[in-house]
Structures are given as structure tokens and as C-alpha cells.
């Protein structure tokens, strides 16, 4: 019984939250990796793009709520999501036209584009705060739980509680759908293949008659969609705060680089590596240890790191990968 209780505690506090968080990071890292491999720079504005997209989704959610529209048990934000994606994609395309296009034309070095994206990051940062403010916003409505602690107890009779929140299920299902759609698009459609060709060998792609402007446009639209979806899922699961999204940049980049930047499968893998490391290292293992090891009552929480230090986990992994395996777990490419 104790073993089962230990497993339940592990699932409740580590497996489920880390999987949901990992899916959110993976979607963010996919956006970063896509921009990196096709537009050839590390997009530091990605976290704030997520914040902007989520901000728009929240505004539409409030609008729909004021009109009395809802999705019943599902959060209204899902209905607002397509509108958020359209506005975010439009912002990215506008930014590209006004800012990035010039640097592409002069064939600026990738490091210059990175610095440009830092500038874009600050602008988007401010734009988001103007739009929706700096406060923490909870915009999750609809059914809260798929399995509540009480239902769990009635179902199993176990003393150890387990809850499955609907946002966690929505996150995992949505992320899965988005990933399948993205891979289908990149591997099966003509446009998707032309984007991979452009990423592989720009000169040969141009020789083959692939239109670079079209590739860039489609890339930004997909990036906008990925960022908005990732941001909204994260916001539904936790809550929205512009500054938190800026901070998410670190684990997202760590995920993209651990997996092998430029590799979409690597981005997903990296997302889960980072999330499981972060949650695993900051979880207080006391409960699980007590169940598993009889006659042992640990004094402390058996927590390796305080949750305040969670960013140190991403950062350490990032440094270790860059030192020992710079191409990442799956061989990515370095521009």
C-alpha cells in the first residue's frame, strides 16, 4: 500500500505537473527553434511574444465573457485563442517588415540579429504592459478538475490524494495536437518542405525557386501561433503575469539547446528534460521517502533546491550542455 501511495504522490506532485509544464516549454522551444533554423537567429523576444499573445487572448476572453459566451466546461480562453494568434502573427509580421527585414537584406551576422531581437523584446515587453498591466491575472474559467481530491478518495479509497486539473489535461492534449499538426505540416506539405529546404541550404533553396519572402512570412505566422498557444496554456495552468513570461525565456532556451537547437523533435525532448529536472530537483521528497523507506522519518523536507532557485536548474543544464555537448541531445545545427 505504501508503494502505491508513494507512486500516487509522485504522480500528483511530479509527473503530472512536470508533464504539463514540459509541454508548455516544448511549445515555446519549438517556436525558438523554428526561428533559429529558418531565420537564423536566437529570438530573445519569444518570451514576450508569448506574453503579448496571452494578453490578447485574455482581452478576447473578457470580451466573450462580457457577451455571455462560454465554452461550458472548457475555458473561454480556448475560444479566444484563434483571435490571439491572428493578432500576434500580425504583430510579428509587422515587426519583421519594420525591423528584421532590413537586417536580412544587409545580410547581418546572426549575433546582430540577436541584439535586434533584444530590442524588439523590450518594445514588446512594454506593449504588453500597456495593454494589460503588470498584475497577476487568472483567466481560467469552466470546470476546474477532471479528478478532484475527493473524487479520487471515493474512487480508490487511498489516503494519498491525487488531483488532475482540467488545465493540465487541456495543456497536454493541445500540445499533442499542435505538435502533430506542426510535424505533418513540415514533413508532408509543399510549403513545409520548402521551409525545411530553406533551413537546410538557403542558396540551393533559392536556386530551386523557393520564394524566401513566403518562407519568412509562414515562419512568423507559425511562430506567433506557437507562442500564443504556449503562453495561453501556461497562463491557464498557472496564471498570467507579464514578468513571469519574460523569465520563461531561460527555460525555453535551455530546452531548445538541450534538445539540439534547430531540431523540432529536440525542442520537445528538451522541454521535458528541463521540466522534469526543474520539478524533480525542487520537489520535497519527504512524503515519497517516508512511504518507501520504513521506520525513517526525515528531519527536513528532502528538497534538493528551494523553488526560488528553479531557474538555476535550467541555467546549470544550459551551461553543462554548452560545455560538453553543444549540439544538444539530438544533433542540432549551429549557425
Amino acid at each position: 500500500m505504501d508503494v502505491i501511495n508513494a507512486l500516487v504522490a509522485l504522480t500528483n506532485y511530479v509527473l503530472i505537473p512536470a508533464t504539463a509544464y514540459g509541454a508548455q516549454l516544448a511549445l515555446g522551444a519549438l517556436g525558438v527553434t523554428l526561428v533559429y533554423s529558418i531565420l537564423r537567429f536566437s529570438n530573445f523576444a519569444h518570451g514576450d511574444t508569448m506574453a503579448f499573445g496571452t494578453g490578447i487572448v485574455i482581452l478576447f476572453t473578457w470580451l466573450f465573457q462580457s457577451w455571455g459566451i462560454s465554452l461550458g466546461p472548457l475555458p473561454t480562453a480556448l475560444l479566444a485563442l484563434p483571435f490571439g494568434i491572428i493578432v500576434t502573427a500580425a504583430l510579428l509580421l509587422g515587426t519583421d517588415r519594420v525591423v528584421y527585414k532590413f537586417y536580412r537584406k544587409v545580410r547581418a551576422a546572426p549575433v546582430i540579429l540577436v541584439m535586434v531581437s533584444v530590442g524588439v523584446m523590450f518594445v514588446m515587453n512594454a506593449l504588453t504592459r500597456f495593454l494589460i498591466g503588470v498584475d497577476q491575472i487568472t483567466f481560467d474559467d469552466g470546470e476546474r478538475f477532471v479528478i478532484s481530491a475527493r473524487q479520487w478518495r471515493d474512487m480508490t479509497g487511498l489516503s494519498e490524494p491525487l488531483t488532475l486539473r482540467s488545465t493540465q489535461v487541456i495543456t497536454i492534449v493541445t500540445a499533442l495536437l499542435v505538435m502533430v499538426a506542426l510535424f505533418w505540416f513540415l514533413n508532408r506539405t509543399r510549403t513545409g518542405k520548402s521551409m525545411r529546404a530553406f533551413s537546410d541550404n538557403e542558396d540551393l533553396a533559392l536556386l530551386s525557386g523557393i520564394n524566401p519572402d513566403r518562407v519568412v512570412t509562414v515562419t512568423w505566422i507559425i511562430t506567433g501561433a506557437l507562442a500564443t498557444i504556449a503562453g495561453t496554456l501556461y497562463g491557464l495552468d498557472k496564471s498570467f503575469k507579464a514578468f513571469t513570461y519574460f523569465q520563461l525565456l531561460l527555460p525555453i532556451f535551455a530546452a531548445a539547446i538541450v534538445g539540439g537547437i534547430g531540431s523540432p523533435v529536440g525542442a520537445i525532448l528538451g522541454g521535458f528534460v528541463i521540466s522534469f529536472s526543474e520539478v524533480g530537483l525542487t520537489y520535497a521528497w519527504k512524503k515519497v521517502a517516508t512511504y518507501l523507506i520504513p521506520h525513517w522519518e526525515p528531519d527536513g523536507l528532502v528538497q534538493l533546491l528551494s523553488t526560488d532557485y528553479k531557474f538555476a536548474v535550467s541555467f546549470t543544464i544550459l551551461i553543462l550542455v554548452l560545455i560538453f555537448k553543444p549540439t544538444g541531445l539530438l544533433k542540432g545545427k549551429i549557425v
Binding site: 509543399r190 518542405k193 520548402s194 525545411r196 529546404a197 537546410d200 541550404n201 542558396d203 540551393l204 533553396a205 533559392l206 536556386l207 530551386s208 525557386g209 523557393i210
Partner: protein
């Protein structure tokens, strides 16, 4: 008038010219080979024909039409195919996808052309699901040539197709190139392996310092004692 007529090409990348009045012509279904010492401007001449080098003087006509002002992409649409010396495949894409990308500008059904490429290079058919970057050098060259053939070009330009492959693979590649020429496609090719290339050439150009030094049939150039002594190492 020749099918390809690149006359009196003069130009370079910066201020100094690399080509000085270089002229290249290719007839229909003919193999023309450009040879010459390092730095003679062989690849540059080829790039000039393809529109990758701005020309100060001279003109390029294809099938009687002046294409001097066209971009490389537009020249592909006019019926030119170009195989660069390096980076000539999409490494993380499968062989089949490489060929599909070659046919990107075509809006019609290209499956018949792909079947022809697979007939020409049977090994590619076996490896069509494999990524081009995982193939051997010779196989990769075949993908590169196959990709260029997907637009059904009338003139195929090859920049050192046998660079870095073994002598056996080189012979094999030359055989395939002859086969392509027999199907009516004109070939313009730059080669380091001058002797072997001239053996299969209908026409040979020996370039030196961006100028035509000798122009003759491949056979005649191989027989010319002067050419042998200076450019073919005896």
C-alpha cells in the same frame, strides 16, 4: 547560333575582373568541358553563365534569347539547371524530398521526371527515404544532379561533379553524364580531372587567367602537345 552562347564575358566580384572576354558556347546535346589551372576562372565563368556574377561586358543567350539580365532563378525557369560544387543537396531531407524541391517551380505532375531520375540513378531509388546528408560522396553528387534534372532543363551545368569522389565513382558519374547528354540535354561542366573529362567532351575549353586559351574538340585538345605539356601534365 549555338544553343548557349556566352560571348565575351568580362567581370568579377569586386573591382578587379576575373573574366577577361571569356566565351563559351554549347550546342544541343553536346558535352562541353571547361578545364584549366587553379584560379583560371573556371567556376567563375560557369557562375557568370548562370547569372551569379555581374558582367561588365558581354552577353549570354540561350536558344537565341538574351538572358544577360535575368536572375539565376529566372534562368532556371528558362531551362538552365545548375549543380554547385559544394552544398548541393538538402542534407536533412530525404532523397525523394530533395528531388521534390528540385521540381518546386513546376506546377505540373513531376512524377514521370522523378521516375526518369530513378532510372538514371537506380541507387537513389533504393535510398529514396534516406536523408541526403547520410549518403556517400558519390551518391550525394547523384542526388545533386538528379535535383537539377527535376526541372527538365535543356542545359545542365555541373561545377566539378567529381570533386572528392573515388576514380571508380568518377567513371560511373561520367557515364551517367554521357547518358544525360544523349537524351538531348546540353552539358556544360567544369572539371579538375581534365584528362578524363576531355575524353568524354565534344568540346573543350582551356581557360587561363580568365581567358580562352585553347578551344577545340576534346579529342583534339588531348592530342595537342602544347595543351598536354602545359595543362595536362605531359
Amino acid at each position: 547560333m549555338s544553343y548557349l552562347n556566352a560571348a565575351n564575358m568580362t567581370g568579377g566580384y569586386g573591382k578587379a575582373d576575373i573574366l577577361h572576354g571569356c566565351t563559351l558556347t554549347v550546342e544541343k546535346g553536346e558535352i562541353a568541358v571547361i578545364v584549366g589551372p587553379n584560379g583560371a576562372g573556371k567556376s567563375t565563368a560557369m557562375k557568370a553563365v548562370f547569372g551569379m556574377l555581374p558582367l561588365r561586358e558581354g552577353s549570354v543567350t540561350l536558344d537565341g534569347q538574351d538572358i544577360t539580365a535575368l536572375s539565376p532563378q529566372d534562368r532556371v525557369k528558362m531551362g538552365m539547371g545548375f549543380v554547385p560544387q559544394v552544398n548541393n543537396v538538402f542534407p536533412t531531407m530525404s532523397v525523394e524530398e530533395n528531388l521534390e524541391m528540385g521540381a518546386f517551380i513546376r506546377n505540373d505532375d513531376y512524377r514521370a521526371t522523378m521516375a526518369q531520375v530513378f532510372d538514371l540513378f537506380p541507387i537513389l531509388k533504393d535510398k529514396r527515404r534516406q536523408n541526403a546528408g547520410e549518403l556517400s560522396g558519390g551518391q550525394r553528387q547523384q542526388v545533386a544532379v538528379g535535383r537539377a534534372l527535376m526541372t527538365q532543363p535543356k542545359l545542365l551545368m555541373l561545377d566539378e561533379p567529381t570533386a572528392g569522389v573515388s576514380p571508380i565513382v568518377m567513371d560511373e558519374l561520367f557515364d551517367r553524364i554521357i547518358e544525360v547528354a544523349r537524351s538531348g540535354i546540353s552539358i556544360l561542366m567544369v572539371e579538375q580531372n581534365a584528362r578524363q573529362a576531355l575524353e568524354i567532351a565534344d568540346k573543350g575549353y582551356v581557360l587561363a587567367q580568365g581567358e580562352n586559351r585553347y578551344t577545340d574538340t576534346g579529342e583534339a585538345l588531348l592530342a595537342n602537345p602544347e595543351v598536354r605539356r602545359t595543362f595536362l601534365g605531359g
